[in-house]
């Protein structure tokens, strides 16, 4: 009876999901576009360069990167699971399944099956990395599939372990802190091991990083290291070792499942709060902007906005919100992007600063979309305050300037040191990246002006990417033309960044000025 009801629910959900593609053809179109882009990336990746021209990098760099990625995703997912419990259940599950006479173990297995699918969706971004991975490491389709599946497995296992431990520690803040402390100690230990290894091999930093990233202390990291070890040993052709890592993971997972299903502890109460949080996230996402990742306990500090009158108060309010949103004056997601870009620089040291600049701008597309201005558009105040719409836009955007300056400086000062680039190049990259933030904001404003709130979330995102590319095109074209005609000022890097910067400023200004009345036409 239990099984029938839950399997009926699963079957019906899958059936309805499939039917929705035909009832709403626009969804089908998105899937077709998505598959098209994926195929393009796959084919483009193979056609990128002649096989004979390609310099294939050491595969141990890739396996070390896989281990690092798995540990990073494990640590963040596990940490979030420890804070709030699992996110396996939706509010409908909480409301209908929990009070029902269904067996709680069956409900748990039903949630686990659903979670496997969600974990795979989270890993889809990996498939789009084919081009770079094939070019640098000669990765095949099969290899990419292996990374995708092991990544999804790591996500799934870290969520399960997070939920499992939460049921034991949720009743006491002390127990939670102990669990967190254990995680941090393991991570600090691994970082110390990597740091020491690099210090001992300063002349070959990349090689030392790759060696340490595949070292036993890293591979022993629960689940993430084991799964990384499984994937890495397959790449190296060491199948017996890979089988051992897989057996270890499977045994630990089985033990965890047995402990969970036999545990007398009630997990229902533990997951309700996280289900509510997830419901809020879903509701906010429907408004176009996901909820802000704010600290659980916000430290108010000095109270009061203190400055500003009329439209300018939006700027001072945003600065106050930034101060409270993060202890370190930079959004956690931006900090991750900064670290990724610096890591990217270490591996791409020989390629010059331009690929790093392009990579940092690519990351910026996402951080700008989640900025204060876009959040402000979801509240009624910016529309209601009796000030000129243009003034309100300018002041609501002004917060971007110090935020982006800090973020760009955090990226390009260490990048310039690593690459040994001159100070002028560093400054130009900082300024150039800042102009891109204005360009991407201009893109959001143009979309708001043209479509108001009438676009669906997916369509809005797709159009945002397309408009970003269109607005960036003049600067990129100018840089290519100058480079092709052999015109250089100081150096080719400086010429390219300068030409992009010089084109971005007028393009962004023109768009923002043309859409100055956007607040009169926007839709909340």
């Amino acid at each position: 009876m239990n099984g029938n009801a839950l399997s009926y629910l699963l079957r019906t959900k899958i059936h309805n999901q499939l039917v929705s593609f035909f009832k709403k053809p626009v969804r089908l179109i998105y899937v077709v576009i998505f598959i098209g882009l994926l195929v393009l990336t796959m084919i483009g990746g193979n056609a990128g360069a002649k096989e004979s021209d390609r310099v294939v990098r050491d595969i141990s760099e890739l396996t070390a990167g896989i281990n690092a990625l798995f540990i990073l995703i494990f640590a963040t997912t596990f940490n979030s699971g420890l804070k709030n419990g699992g996110t396996f259940f939706k509010m409908a599950d909480v409301n209908y399944l929990f009070p029902s006479p269904l067996n709680k173990r069956s409900i748990l297995f039903y949630a686990l099956i659903q979670q496997i699918w969600s974990s795979m969706l989270i890993g889809i971004f990996i498939l789009f990395q084919y081009s770079a991975l094939h070019m640098n490491y000669n990765l095949s389709y099969l290899g990419l599939t292996l990374i995708f599946l092991t990544y999804s497995l790591t996500v799934f296992l870290s969520q399960t372990l997070g939920m499992f431990l939460y049921t034991f520690v949720s009743d006491s803040e002390k127990k939670k802190n102990i669990a967190k402390a254990v995680l941090y100690i393991i991570i600090v230990g691994i970082l110390a091991y990597i740091g020491l290894h690099v210090l001992q091999n300063k002349d070959h930093i990349v090689k030392a990083l790759a060696e340490a990233g595949n070292g036993l202390p890293v591979l022993l990291f629960p689940f993430a290291g084991w799964i990384g070890g499984f994937a890495g040993s397959i790449f190296k052709g060491e199948y017996i070792e890979s089988a051992l890592w897989l057996i270890l993971s499977a045994a630990a997972f089985t033990a965890m499942l047995i402990a969970m299903s036999r545990s007398k502890r009630e997990y229902y109460e533990d997951v309700i709060a996280s289900a509510e949080t997830m419901q809020n996230t879903i509701n906010s996402a429907k408004d176009g902007v996901p909820p802000e990742a704010t600290p659980k306990v916000i430290k108010v500090g000095k109270e009061g906005i203190g400055k500003g009158n009329g439209a300018s108060v939006f700027f001072y309010k945003h600065m106050l919100e930034n101060r409270r949103a993060s202890k370190i004056w930079i959004k956690p997601m931006s900090l991750v992007f900064v670290l990724i870009t610096i890591g990217f620089t270490i591996f791409m040291k020989g390629a010059g600063i331009l690929p790093i600049f392009a990579f940092s701008v690519y990351m910026q597309v996402f951080t700008v979309a989640l900025g204060r201005f876009n959040r402000e558009l979801t509240k009624p105040f910016i529309y209601l305050v009796p000030e000129s719409p243009f003034k309100k836009i300018i002041y609501a955007l002004a917060e971007t300037f110090p935020t982006e300056l800090l973020e760009s400086a955090l990226i390009f000062i260490p990048v310039s040191i690593i690459l040994g680039a001159p100070a002028l190049v560093c400054i130009l990259c900082i300024v150039g990246r800042m102009t891109f933030s204005f360009l991407f904001i201009a893109s959001s404003i143009a979309i708001e002006r043209l479509w108001g709130g009438s676009l669906s979330k997916v369509a809005g995102l797709l159009i945002y990417f397309v408009v970003d590319i269109l607005l960036s095109a003049p600067g990129i074209v100018l840089a290519v033309v100058l480079s092709a005609s052999g015109i250089t000022l100081f150096s080719s890097d400086i010429t390219s960044v300068m030409s992009i910067t010089l084109m971005n400023i007028p393009v962004a200004s023109l768009i923002i000025y043309s859409c100055r009345n956007v607040l009169q036409y926007a839709e909340l």
Partner: protein, 237 residues
Amino acid sequence: MLKVEHVTKKYGKLLANNDISFSVESGQIAVLVGPNGAGKSTIIKSIAGLLRFEGKIEIGGFDNKSVEAKGLIGYVPEMPAVYDLLTVSEHMEFIRRAYRLPDDGYDKYLLERFEMMDKKDKVGKELSKGMQQKLSICCTLLHRPRVIIFDEPLIGLDPHAIKEIKNMFSELKAQGCALLISTHMLDSVENFWDVAHIMVNGSFAATKYNTPGGENEKSLEELFFEITEGKASEVGK
């Protein structure tokens, strides 16, 4: 004070408001009643200047999207709009500065009246839904608007706050403000409305005035059920 002329609003193919016209005078309380999905929130948002629409809306003789009109209007949204990272008193400071208002203590008066003073140092994220709604109402009233529109204002409020806001409605009316209140809870507006518009499928199905009429006249509730249960008939003044 508030004039709505031939307003039509479409979401794609869906006709949310169809050629709506009405007005609310100074010192008048108008209510919009109707079932879920009737188009009440859409017309409210259009008046607040948050949606594009066809037709004309004037606040105090100014186009509703003009700076002058924005100075006159106050809007309480259905979902309380508060900032997660600002404290209650900072919300009031924000509105005071944004509307260039003097620091005359009216913010504290409103917070006291809605029993929010003990929460003044709490950030928006820490407030319950009802508290957020009360803060949203305080923010709306702070600049002493002349036209105030409320979208389901009583949902989530505790009995004391409901009593307080009902008293506030009467006071604002006495001060000459024009009030437009949208609700689907008929009993919440039974006593204090002057004119009621019953909305069905994006249009006004009936308009009823709260005048001491004859004994045979239908109550708002009777009329509402008659219309929404498919027995609509022309209802005059």
